[in-house]
């Protein structure tokens, strides 16, 4: 019976064809020999291909867009023409091969600035011989954005000596510094006039949010600004300058559509105008837009509202500051009455009021989704980080590459009659691992990084330059279609908490505000719940009482809360209270 059953089962199996043992062994042998031969051929081919290949390229070809303004004298409408060009940026070209004696690692996000940093760092072995008498190689460890925080924090928690240099998102500074994982640089800077001079070459905002902990406390310099980034507004120039659309808009709202850069900045362009414009341009398929019949729905605006990482925190934060409110009081740790104040609720109501004019996937919109809807030519305006804007101006990726412009974000005329223009900063500093054997070498690299030649390459390759005397040059402002907006936006940047509990504070914020945007709770409830959660997190952490004075926000200095509520310039943060 058993034999019969097995036999039946065998017959029912998928392997219907039967092979003899000899045939099977023969076939297996042939396959094995084939695989070995193929492997040898491929290996040898690969070896010779590699050996005969050219030495590593020292030049990087970057497709860029050059913007020039054209228009006959006296012409009322100025047209901005953006054309793509391909440039070859010399990033290294070391004249001699230098054999490295020491290798340090630089951990960075895997994106254009990270790759560009690696290309620029190729010149460091030669430069380090001149500077310190040793050839030092800086090896990049490029880590995808999605996992970089986990990778860097777990590596540092294990007290690893490498990476010597690391990119920290601005809000990680507190958790890395308070945990003792990154170096306080003041003792070294005090002995080095070159570094002292360097500090004066950054805008106040960049020092406050990229380089100090607590924000604005220059007694704790914990990093140097590396990749600057800000959010700007990208709009469709063809729609904003279309005569019929302009006429209709004026008839409906009683004022002109902005049409040139100066109408957005330094003019007092208001967030409420953004909403008017978004409302005006929101059209259904079949409606007319700029003289053409729409085949698909067209949207007014795409702003960041995703739950991912800090997507909505940065955009809602921007609106919150413009409405004259901040997240907390960094001196006392107080939250109640601040993040759920009347002004904050109004700010959230305004943020939510943009939804009817947004694409249907508004709850998932971050940099990628905002770019996608603009590149498809289905939205009038988006907000996005300038670090992610190159593809908007790329003819291969964007249908509207030649019909868009990037301008600074608007502000808001508050209930106290003050016009506030602030935005939440992006970008990252570079820090030195406290467990590294080579902190002095890392500082030499930082000095090398800020030399004019490297900064020029950085700018030309698309990096976010942080040195203000470069940012403010006409050369830099005209280098890309978004550099002017970047340069003008730097001075009004603020940031949220960079305390060790930032991740919990951020998650609570993302959850509560996202639930509000999804219609699961009203703005007041969302911010009340948020205030309670933030209070619990801050109290459980013991801020500020359990923190030593040097790790708290100094009470005699102006905090972002003081500055925002008073409507003072962002550069006042960290300045002595009068």
């Amino acid at each position: 019976m058993g034999y019969e059953k097995n036999k039946n089962n065998e017959e029912n199996t998928f392997s219907v064809k039967k092979l003899s043992r000899r045939e099977a062994l023969s076939t297996a042998g042939k396959v094995a020999v084939g695989v070995v031969v193929a492997g040898i051929i491929a290996g040898a081919g690969g070896y010779y291909a590699g050996a005969s290949a050219a030495p590593p390229a020292r030049e990087v070809t970057v497709t860029k867009t050059v913007t020039e303004t054209v228009g006959a004298p006296g012409q009322v409408v100025t047209t901005t023409v953006t054309s793509p060009v391909t440039k070859t940026v010399t990033v290294g070209a070391p004249p001699t091969e230098v054999k490295p004696e020491i290798t340090i690692t630089f951990a960075s996000p895997e994106w254009l600035p990270g790759r560009l940093t690696g290309l620029i760092a190729e010149k460091f072995p030669e430069a380090s011989v001149r500077k310190i008498g040793k050839a030092v190689q800086v090896k990049m460890d490029l880590i995808p954005w999605g996992v970089i925080h986990d990778r860097i924090t777990t590596t540092l928690a294990a007290k690893s000596k490498e990476p010597t240099l690391l990119i920290s998102d601005s809000q990680w500074l507190g958790e890395l510094y308070v945990g003792g994982h990154i170096k306080r640089l003041n003792p070294i800077i005090e002995k080095d006039p070159e570094l002292q001079q360097l500090l004066n070459r950054f805008d106040e905002s960049l020092v406050n949010y990229y380089m100090t902990y607590p924000q604005g406390n220059r007694n704790n310099i914990v990093g140097f600004a590396h990749e600057g980034d800000i959010i700007s507004l990208v709009y469709r120039t063809d729609l904003f300058t279309h005569p019929a659309e302009r006429e209709n808009f004026k008839a409906q709202f009683g004022y002109d559509l902005p049409q040139k850069y100066e109408d957005f900045y330094p003019a007092r362009f208001d967030w409420t105008q953004v909403r008017d414009i978004a409302k005006f341009f929101t059209r259904k398929a079949g409606d007319e837009l700029a003289g053409k019949r729409l085949e698909e729905d067209f949207y007014g605006i795409a702003v960041h509202m995703s739950k991912e990482y800090d997507a909505l925190a940065c955009l809602f934060g921007t609106i919150l500051y413009c409405w004259g409110e901040y997240w907390w009081d960094p001196v006392t740790g107080q939250v109640e009455g601040i993040v759920n104040s009347e002004r904050a609720v109004k700010a959230l109501e305004f943020y939510k009021s943009l939804i009817p004019y947004s694409p249907p996937n508004y709850l998932e919109i971050w940099f990628d989704q905002a770019n996608a809807v603009m590149q498809a030519g289905r939205v009038a305006m988006i907000t996005n980080w300038v670090g992610f804007q190159p593809s908007l101006f790329d003819p291969a990726a964007s249908k509207v590459y030649d019909r868009i412009a990037s301008v600074p974000l608007p502000g808001h005329l508050g209930d106290d009659g003050k016009f506030r223009r602030y935005a939440n900063i992006g970008g990252q500093p570079m820090c030195i691992n406290a467990y590294s054997d080579y902190p002095e070498i890392a500082l030499e690299f930082i000095k090398f990084w800020f030399e004019p030649e490297q900064q020029r390459t950085w700018a030309e390759g698309g990096g976010g330059v942080c040195i203000k005397d470069i940012i403010n040059t006409d050369w830099f402002k005209k280098l890309t279609p978004y550099n002017r907006a970047y340069a003008d936006s730097i001075p009004f940047q603020l940031d949220f908490w960079n305390v060790p509990t930032y991740a919990e504070l951020l998650m609570a914020l993302q959850e509560e505000v996202h639930a509000c945007l999804a219609g699961l709770q009203d703005p007041k409830t969302a911010l009340d719940r948020l205030a309670k959660r933030h209070k619990d997190i801050i109290e459980a952490d013991g801020y500020p009482d359990r923190y030593p004075p040097e790790l708290r926000f100094p009470p005699d200095r102006k905090s972002p809360l003081d500055v925002v509520r008073a409507g003072e310039p962002a550069s006042e943060v960290g300045k002595p209270k009068r």
Binding site: N12, F14, H149, D150, T153, T154, L156, A157, E175, V178, G179, G180, H181, K307, E308, P359, P360, N361, L363, E364, Q369, A372, V373, A376, R378, P500, T501, A503, E504, M507, E511, E512, H514, A515, C516, L517, A518, L520, Q521, R533
Partner: protein, 288 residues
Amino acid sequence: MPTRSINTFSIFLIVPALSIVFFLVIFPLFWALGLSFYSYNVLRGGLPVFIGLGNYGKILGDPYIWERFVITAQFVVASVVLEFLLGFALALLFYQEFKGRKLAITLVTMPLLIAPIASGIFFKYIYDATFGIFTYVIQSSIGVKINMTKDYAMLAIVLLDAWQWTPFMMLFILAGLEAIPKHLLESSEIDRLSRFNKFRVVIWPTIRPLVTLALLFRTMDCFRTFDTVFALTEGGPGAQTELISIHIYRVAFKYFRTGEACALAFIVLVIIILLTNLYLRMVRREAS
């Protein structure tokens, strides 16, 4: 003597495997259990502070964590039930002989070969309310624009899980069906049993152990589902799909509250062990 030498040799052979299991599984498990009684933040450094059952008390008294347990339970029940029903239907379908059956089975089991994180990303694009094919098809066919990840987020993650894991359930049930002795089926035909009675008396008793095993595996798996849901909704909107596994990840690797994360992981482990015992008891009872 030979017996003794064989025993020594056997022990020698299994020492490497046992060492790996001890150092990579058993020791970390007990280490984590120990840490769950301490207040410790691995990133903040400092010495762990013994707080006894403090972490457990904090977790069990936290309404936000209870919310996540409820969400996880909803997800587990909905997913496992849906996968069981669909898997059963597919197994019954593929139990019949028809042309192209083997190809159809291969195609249906394809989702099992896809990495869960990739499935999550695929579905994020498929469900996208502006450009997604799902939205487009629904709108074209019934004229309604559905935003799955906003309005039906729980359904969206359950459907994704069912898409990926129904074939697994189907294969188990199909294996059970294939194992039914042909003569029993023939006898039931001769005895003119109704379809229901044929299922109750002949089919179900044979496939029940495999179905229970499949349900056990899927329940355990659903409890620790992370990647698909994280990639698709990241727990949103708000915290509507924030499973306990996602919360543990955040506590452990975003907030670095190491002791609390260990305690939470052990609570989930206990729940899974209890469920496993429940299932196994059911199987044993049926067997006896």
